[in-house]
């Protein structure tokens, strides 16, 4: 390549990195191929890279499933509402902490730092949620995740390096502190807001735990919890299949439709993951910086 000398060190390095990238990417390629396959064919013939009996049937089926659509709606709602509120409230908090003259500033920082070292744990949290009426409510997905120490620190570090003069000139023009925050600070902070938004948005999109343990109302479950249910079902099915193969009967293969529980599961997995996979490459330039900002203060 352009006359550069390729040492053995470089060749091994490139080869290992390529192998690493492949092993990271391959599972997704495989699942995509499986989800686009005729379910029965996928059970009979091995898939490596390309679908067997190409079809959109799996996707059509899950998008006709009202349970899935409801869950998808819950996931989208909680992600949008949870992310917007988290970013706005944390930014307000962090902005106040940048005021060096604010009495009690150190105290407030410690007040939010201590819980990162030691917390009440799962059960007291559950009891609290119950007392607050959060169990089996949509708000259990939003309210417990409104703030986070590390995100506040990342935001604070970013706000600190904005020039003070902007704020002062806005004040001379008659802006109050809130107006300064809304009109000057927030618009200037898109990169860090996008970073925090991505962090918390990914959390909301992927959280299955809250739905599994804090919600029993089936109409309130998010997609990831649904996927978790499918996962435990399929483990049970695998056991059943093992038993069935021992007794000589075959299950699943006699279905007339092109789909199988497994192919539907793979399509559900793709739909539960794709939005995030489409977003993150575009956010990359932001979050790499965001992590660096966060790392400065540890």
């Amino acid at each position: 390549m352009s006359g550069r000398k390729w040492s053995i060190f470089s060749i091994i390095n490139y080869a290992l990195l390529a192998l690493f990238a492949f092993s990271t990417l391959y599972p997704f390629i495989y699942i995509l191929a499986y989800s686009l396959s005729d379910g029965v064919a996928a059970m009979k013939y091995p898939i490596y890279f390309l679908p067997k009996g190409f079809t959109f049937e799996n996707y059509i089926q899950i998008f006709q499933d009202t349970k899935f659509l409801e869950a998808y709606k819950i996931t989208i709602f909680r992600t949008v509402i949870g992310t917007a509120l988290h970013v706005f409230l944390s930014a307000l908090f962090a902005y106040a902490l940048t005021k060096k003259t604010l009495p009690g500033r150190t105290f407030f920082t410690f007040f939010i730092f201590i819980p990162t070292l030691f917390g009440g744990g799962m059960i007291p949290t559950f009891v609290l949620f119950r007392e607050l009426g959060l169990i089996n409510s949509f708000w259990v997905y939003v309210i417990p995740f409104l703030y986070n120490f590390f995100n506040i620190i990342v935001l604070r570090t970013f706000f600190q390096q904005l020039p003070n003069s902007l704020e002062e000139s806005a004040k001379i023009d008659g802006c109050g502190d809130f107006k300064v925050f809304m009109k000057i600070i927030l618009p200037l902070s898109t990169p860090v807001l996008a970073t925090i938004g991505l962090f918390i948005g990914v959390f909301h999109w992927n959280d299955w735990f809250t739905g599994t343990y804090f919600v029993t109302n089936k109409d309130l479950l998010p997609v990831q919890t649904l996927l978790n249910d499918l996962l435990s079902q399929s483990i049970a099915q695998a056991d059943a299949a093992k038993n069935a193969s021992q007794t000589g009967t075959s299950i699943g293969l006699q279905s007339v439709a092109q789909t199988t529980p497994e192919s539907l599961r793979m399509a559900t997995l793709m739909v539960a993951t794709l939005p995030i996979l489409c977003v993150y490459p575009f956010m990359q330039k932001y979050f790499v910086k965001g992590v660096m900002i966060g790392s400065v203060k540890g």
Partner: protein, 320 residues
């Protein structure tokens, strides 16, 4: 406008006198900022500090009807119950083994990846590998485990198909005692290594290029430059992240283990976090589970404080 003049006057006064009396004036001046902080203070109080008080559940015979305050005290009964539980030792051992293995094998991985990426001179290749490496960070553990189940399946999974093509026996990977730890550690690294490398890459990009020039003059090859320049330059970041990781030794990652641990691997896969969730949320033994959780939290706290102390003494780097 009135506000503005007021606050300007006030700040001048503060500047001139700096008296203790002025603290109230200062607070009044910052009233809007306290309003900004208020929702957060209330939130942290409710969602972080009230659960800390909720730990008293561990010392009570808690039941929901009576509430935390009304439930009778039980002393150390639930701690005794846990330590007398015949599998308690096993659970503690599993927790330590799994998180120690994650720490020892998993901790250096992002560093190695960052060093390897740093040696890449083809920008496009570097960017592509990096983008791909972040991908697993953005998917949930449910998705990872579903992926693993499909890929490693003895029924048509590509790994087993490949094994079969090679003429070997198919392997049931999941739920298998022989492969459990490998899969736990492997999937943990797969999911986190790319993301973990970001911070080291950032640190590496901050190394003074003159140091490399000097090393080159002294005849250091690429590997020696890496060893003698890059590594020492990022050691500060390494220490901080290591301290943080040490605090987590008593928690082995509950999401992953809740999903991957099956009855067939329970003897080596049941860890404290998972046990707390199972005993508490699934079986409703709230006081007992809180006691186990408290034991875990205290050990974690002791570990992180000692790690911080030690590193402060040894090389002056510390979290606080």
């Amino acid at each position: 406008m009135k506000n503005h003049i007021e606050s300007k006057l006030a700040s001048q006064q503060v500047y001139v006198t700096k008296n203790k009396k002025n603290i109230w004036l200062k607070i009044w001046q910052h009233r809007v900022f306290y309003l900004f902080l208020l929702p957060g203070i209330v939130w942290f109080f409710i969602f972080s500090y009230i659960p800390m008080y909720g730990i008293t559940i561990a010392f009570k015979d808690f039941n929901f009807v009576k509430g935390i305050l009304g439930s009778p005290w039980a002393g150390l009964k639930y701690f005794e119950q846990f330590f007398n539980y015949y599998q308690a030792g096993e659970i503690i051992r599993n927790t330590i083994i799994i998180s120690l293995m994650k720490l020892i094998i998993g901790f250096p991985m992002p560093i190695i990846l960052a060093l390897m990426l740093n040696e890449v001179r083809v920008a496009k290749f570097k960017r592509t590998v990096q983008t791909i490496s972040y991908l697993p960070h953005f998917i949930s553990w449910v998705v990872v485990v579903t992926l693993m189940q499909r890929i490693l399946s003895p029924y048509g999974g590509p790994i087993n198909e490949l094994i079969a093509v090679l003429g070997l026996d198919k392997i049931q990977f999941l739920g298998n005692l022989n492969y459990f730890y490998q899969l736990i550690i492997g999937s943990d690294i797969w999911k986190g290594v790319g993301w973990g490398a970001i911070i080291y890459l950032a640190a590496i990009s901050g190394v003074d290029p003159q140091l490399y020039e000097a090393a080159k003059m002294d005849g250091a090859n690429r590997f020696r430059q890496m060893w003698h320049v890059t590594l020492p330059s990022i050691s500060g970041v390494m220490v901080i992240l290591f301290i943080l990781a040490c605090g987590g030794i008593m928690s082995a990652g509950y999401e992953q283990l809740l999903l991957l641990n099956t009855p067939s691997t329970a003897s080596i896969g049941t860890v404290l976090d998972v046990y707390v969730i199972k005993a508490g949320l699934e079986q409703g033994r709230f006081s007992y589970a809180t006691a186990v959780g408290l034991f875990q939290g205290i050990i974690g706290l002791i570990l992180i404080i000692s790690a911080n102390r030690i590193s402060k003494k040894v090389n002056g780097t510390s979290l606080w």
